[in-house]
Symmetry: D3
Subunit: 131 residues, 6 copies
């Protein structure tokens, strides 16, 4: 079970419930995932994390699908089971097909491989790549 | 300097030179980066890595820009200085603007944060997220 | 199950049992956790690891609670489920309240985020920060 | 050099300068580090990151020194050179002595070791550690 | 369950089945693990990954046991539960005894510790170690 | 420069000098690397780390070369520049040829790739791999 338990909507303070309502309205869902319920024992942490996520994932120069795939690529690299499960679901909802997922995974796999090749071979940065 | 030195085109075997030529033709550049020159002391490793990268980064359901941004997101998460420098350059060449880079970094940052929040709070995967 | 099984006290050699006794005496508990039982198939590894842990976690300039919270911060960053569970318990026993845990997690989350921002933006170390 | 260059105070927009001013006032310093100047090409990212950092590092149940040491422990675990340099400086300013740093490092080292021992031995979580 | 389900031999295309047959022949086993069945929804990813693994793990200057132990050391460092389980089994099959496993784990543990000590103390590379 | 400076032999306490002497005798070298000089501001940390390293790297069921290659594989996976440089040198001294290094790197690269494929595809552990 989550470290501090889950803060269910029925027991939540008005402050927490307001965040829950904004999450459901923004995402057009009628339930709150365990992640938010687990953070909600600290209303400040919940509020800041949600506002940041909402700002960061809002479509702008990058569309919602691209952002969700980037989120998933990071979560896979960090090997976070919860985040892989939840952001796979979110990316699918945003339009990721199985073929796109397979291509994403192929890129993530190769990047993790070549990151170690570059580090392990002690490769110096080419002058052309310097900003 | 790279662990085994750099295998410059002028000293390279025909097998290695063929890979170099394919890299330059595919990427439409007239130089070879230190990464490939460092791997090239082992022609097998060079050949396999290049063929895999070429296959993985070729545009398909995901376009070249999206793939380069995913590659960069992984490299930033792993904090590989060489890969960050080279794939920032590659993503820019594929069309990434400064605004898109800032949005990418914002997603990568938040994903690295919430990956730890989910793990640290020991959040269980919601049944809705199970495949 | 643990890779080499668990070395229960009843089957353990006198050398292993002596370590178990020191663990229970030092921590004032009457049971041995799976971590130690799993290591105990190699008495040398068990002994060295326990002596190091005991030395490192003993209160000195930093008190026991601070040390346990640092241990937890690392475990959360590495996303080790066993270590998160066991060191959350240990930190609570040493006095960590739910509010302190939430503050710890907020710091760990932000540090993981800004570590990637600093790396991804290729920020150079300011001369003022050089030792 | 930083990916998008450094946004020096003299060229900064009023919005960015307001953040710079708040950073200097809060930290009681008269200069801005490269980290903030690098983020400042995106005023939104700069503002959100600073507000979050300010909120997270403000002393509450945990004092400023403990928070800075937690930040450093994460940065060392992630091996971020910039963050290690800047947060070592910040922790020293908050009161960390050389002896405290050595103890912190000893804990961080052992935690990174035992995280892998627990994972590698496939140790199951004891029922006593379940929340 | 795996993200895209498992591609069982009975439903697999001839292309996928040919890879399965080569895996079983090469490894002298009569079953296919979940890892390959999960990748097999993308025949290209399956084929490339298998050919690379086969090439990389074939005994050459390093024997099969050494290669499997290196694979396991990486998997433990990354804390990948699936890979730890499967490569512990593979290394045992290649001849790793319990004593060898314990020695491997001791090295992996210490390396993870001293990697952070070197980074955290900001140690500069000695000229003697430069390639 | 290292965080607390380097503790040169000439200024070192007898306790630290005794460790330096043991390092040079054990490794048959006539100099001390920056790693040990950086740790040496805390004689306890220096002593414990050296005794552990000495014990862990001593040839037993695994020979010195295999242990050094495992150490290097972990350091590459963690991307620690100092440790990659120093353990590449140590592995070479223990007999690692350029061909063996290339094979090691190929394994490390693929393991880092497939660790993410297994995690990202949410592959469940086969019953056959359970200990």
């Amino acid at each position: 079970m989550a470290t501090c338990g889950l803060n269910e909507s029925s027991q939540a303070s008005p402050e927490v419930r307001a965040v829950y309502d904004d999450i459901m309205a923004t995402r057009r869902v009628d339930w709150i995932s365990n992640f938010w319920k687990a953070l909600a024992h600290d209303a400040t942490l919940l509020g800041r994390t949600w506002r940041s996520i909402k700002e960061v994932l809002a479509p702008a120069r990058l569309d919602a699908l691209t952002k969700e795939m980037l989120y998933l690529a990071v979560s896979v690299t960090n090997q976070c089971p919860y985040c892989i499960a939840s952001h796979t679901a979110a990316a699918r909802k945003a339009g990721m097909s199985e073929e796109m997922f397979a291509e994403l995974m192929a890129v993530v796999g190769m990047a993790n491989e070549t990151n170690r090749l570059a580090s392990g071979y002690q490769v110096e940065i080419d002058p052309q790549f310097k900003a």
